[in-house]
């Protein structure tokens, strides 16, 4: 029998009454919240260019422009960029804009089975390249700054290696680069994605894409839930109860839920490259990745690079990110680490302003 802590009847009744009150208060609050109260990605922006399902937006300035070179935020295909603009007081976009950056973002859109045959080659050499060219046309800049997030970081570093003449500075955030370095820090909660993907055979991955045509958003969501098994179970009871009587925290919780629920499908052929070429074969750091018939040679990344990673990142372990020193073609390489998680780096109260300040300082010093 499992021993339980001693508690008198009175203490138990008090606890139960308190719990009941919290639940009642939570139900009442949730009933009053409308959809528009949990809007995300509300910072004003304008559509500048689109191609297929991909849209390029330019944010309206919130302060006088301090850095002349525009910056393009490139998110991954696994989640949506809206996480970088979750709410007014937790927004990378707003923080960058308020420090005088000309901020652009590429929205990859919602892929469907019809997009099965899109590859990394298409995303990097067509879509990203077209967006960069559109920015150059609009602003007159010869080069742009790129800020890649997670898989978007892989897109930007590959682009920077293949098109260095168009990239002024490269900023990587929570980006996996050495996909086999996941065991380096020995933390059991880090790197399960790497272990899980390596446990599959190449045939397993091919068969998934043959059946689904995409890597379904629900499927990647379920795999992510395995990274934090108990948190996934307690989220809607214990965790929700913790914040339910604080309106600001509750709205923040719901906005995160909204972002999580909006998990797009990953195009099938690109997913094969992501899982087989990168997670399994680790081709990027070995300079073996090929896009558009060209080798992605990291030594061709000759512009200044800022690499930001999160020490508590259970999705992309820091050891898989901070591996570029000596691997790229520039000495102007800076690493910046934050005590946060993969998503917390962008949305936690603690990291607000730290990431954007690091980015702005780095770019401002290299904007001549």
């Amino acid at each position: 029998m499992i021993p339980t802590p001693p508690a008198g009847p009175a203490a138990l009744m008090r606890d139960a009454a308190e719990l009941n009150q919290k639940i009642a208060s939570g139900i009442e609050k949730l009933a009053r919240i409308r959809d528009e109260d949990v809007e995300i990605a509300t910072t004003p922006k304008d559509e500048v260019f689109s191609i297929d399902k991909v849209t390029l937006y330019r944010y309206r300035p919130l302060a006088e422009q301090r850095i002349a070179t525009p910056v393009l935020i490139v998110y991954s295909l696994i989640g949506r960029y809206t996480m970088t603009d979750l709410q007014e007081d937790r927004s990378l976009m707003r923080n960058l804009l308020s420090q005088g950056l000309d901020v652009w973002v590429v929205d990859w859109g919602n892929s469907s089975r019809a997009d099965r045959y899109l590859t990394f080659d298409d995303y990097v050499l067509t879509y990203l390249d077209e967006c960069v060219d559109a920015m150059r046309r609009e602003t007159g800049a010869e080069k742009v700054n790129l800020l890649g997030i997670c898989e978007g970081g892989v897109f930007t570093i590959a682009y920077a290696a293949l098109m260095p003449q168009k990239v002024k500075n490269l900023v990587l955030t929570v980006t996996p680069l050495d996909f086999h370095a996941d065991q380096a820090d020995g933390k059991i909660e880090h790197g399960f994605l790497n272990v899980w993907t390596r446990s599959l055979s190449a045939d397993d991955i091919d068969r998934m894409i043959e059946v689904w045509g995409v890597l379904p958003g629900e499927f990647t969501g379920a795999v992510f839930n395995m990274l934090t098994p108990i948190r996934s179970i307690t989220k809607y009871n214990l965790d929700l109860l913790d914040v339910v009587d604080d309106e600001a925290k509750l709205l923040n919780f719901l906005r995160m839920e909204k972002w999580l629920a909006d998990r797009p499908h990953h195009p099938g052929e690109a997913a094969k490259q992501w899982l087989k070429d990168l997670y399994q074969a680790n081709k990027l750091i070995r300079n073996e990745l090929e896009l558009g018939g060209r080798n992605v040679d990291l030594k061709q990344v000759t512009m200044p690079v800022l690499n930001i990673f999160a020490e508590g990142d259970h999705i992309i372990p820091p050891a898989t990110s901070c591996v570029l020193d000596g691997k790229i073609g520039t000495d102007d390489y800076t690493e910046m680490s934050l005590k946060s998680g993969h998503i917390g780096l962008f949305v936690s109260a603690k990291s607000q302003g730290i990431v954007s300040k690091g980015v702005v300082d780095f770019l401002a010093a290299r904007d001549d």
Binding site: E47, P61, E64, T126, V195, S199, R207, I230
Partner: protein
């Protein structure tokens, strides 16, 4: 086109009569044949052990043949495989008739009539395979659940030991909240360890594998059913998407390399017309938005 009969009802009644008579004749003939076969078998039994053994051998040979065909059947479903198709033709009774008949006529008949009775076996075989795959998914699911249940069992065991040890030392959690936190921490660690274990990864991988195999066989069954009705199949739509994607890539490559009137490629010309490399500095609300996006993503 043939001429319409003067009295359609009388013509229909006559045709029905003829059909019934011919069916009756066929039935009579089949019954006579069965009766003679039974007599012959009875005679063979009477003639002693040698004949009985021969009869057994004959039956065995039929079973062996049936079994060989049965094993070959799944291969027949694989289109494009010469051996399978050849075996299919070998077993198709219509192919014997085509030797002396009109192949064009048969093809037209097949295309206009849709599935034939001869196809029914094929569908049954596919359904059988589908059921087999479904059972494999269920077996894999049970094996996977057993591993997960084992992890929860282990977490409970660890929690029990931990609490007993803390109580022995007099440092047991003071309240329910602390006890719950301890349980969640232990459960989390146990589940994380399980997720990384080879037996979990193997069981989950097998479930995924069997699930995918089931869905592929299911697609095969559905496609076999909808194709004769002229409905598009998943495989055909995938093929269209692939062609479309290839076409888009080719168009973009052509667009990039197409010379403009001044002889320069379009993209190169657009970039050549760029202003100075230092971009214009923006101020808040200095730029008129070209198009609003409703302020939301």
């Amino acid at each position: 086109m043939s001429e319409a009969p003067a009295n359609p009802w009388e013509a229909f009644a006559r045709q029905s009569r003829d059909m019934l008579e011919s069916q009756a004749a066929l039935t009579r003939s089949w019954l006579e044949g069965q009766s003679k076969l039974a007599e012959a078998m009875g005679e063979a039994q009477k003639q002693g052990a040698g004949s009985a053994e021969a009869m057994q051998d004959l039956w065995r040979s039929w079973f062996s043949l049936g079994s060989a065909f049965g094993q070959a059947m799944p291969g027949m479903a694989d289109s494009g495989k010469v051996a399978g198709e050849t075996l299919g033709r070998m077993m198709d009774p219509m192919s014997l008739m085509l030797v002396g008949g009109s192949q064009v006529g048969e093809t037209i008949r097949r295309l206009t009539e849709g599935p034939r009775l001869a196809d029914l076996g094929s569908i049954e075989r596919r359904m059988g395979r589908l059921m087999e795959q479904w059972l494999a998914v269920q077996a894999a699911a049970r094996a996977y659940e057993a591993v997960v249940a084992g992890a929860w069992g282990e977490a409970t065991r660890r929690y029990g030991s931990e609490m007993a040890e803390l109580q022995r030392r007099g440092t047991a959690p003071a309240d329910a909240k602390a006890a719950l936190k301890s349980w969640l921490d232990i459960a989390n660690r146990t589940l994380l360890e399980t997720h990384r274990s080879p037996k979990f990864l193997e069981a989950q991988g097998e479930l995924l594998r069997k699930g995918m195999e089931f869905l592929l066989v299911e697609r095969e069954v559905v496609e076999a059913m909808v194709e004769p009705a002229g409905l598009p199949t998943r495989s055909e739509i995938d093929e269209v998407h692939r062609s479309l994607q290839d076409l888009k890539r080719r168009v973009r490559t052509l667009e990039k390399s197409t010379p403009k009137v001044d002889g320069k490629p379009e993209k190169a010309a657009a970039l050549a017309a760029k202003p100075a490399r230092k971009p214009a500095v923006r101020k808040p609300s200095a730029r008129k938005p070209r198009r609003k996006n409703g302020e939301a993503a």
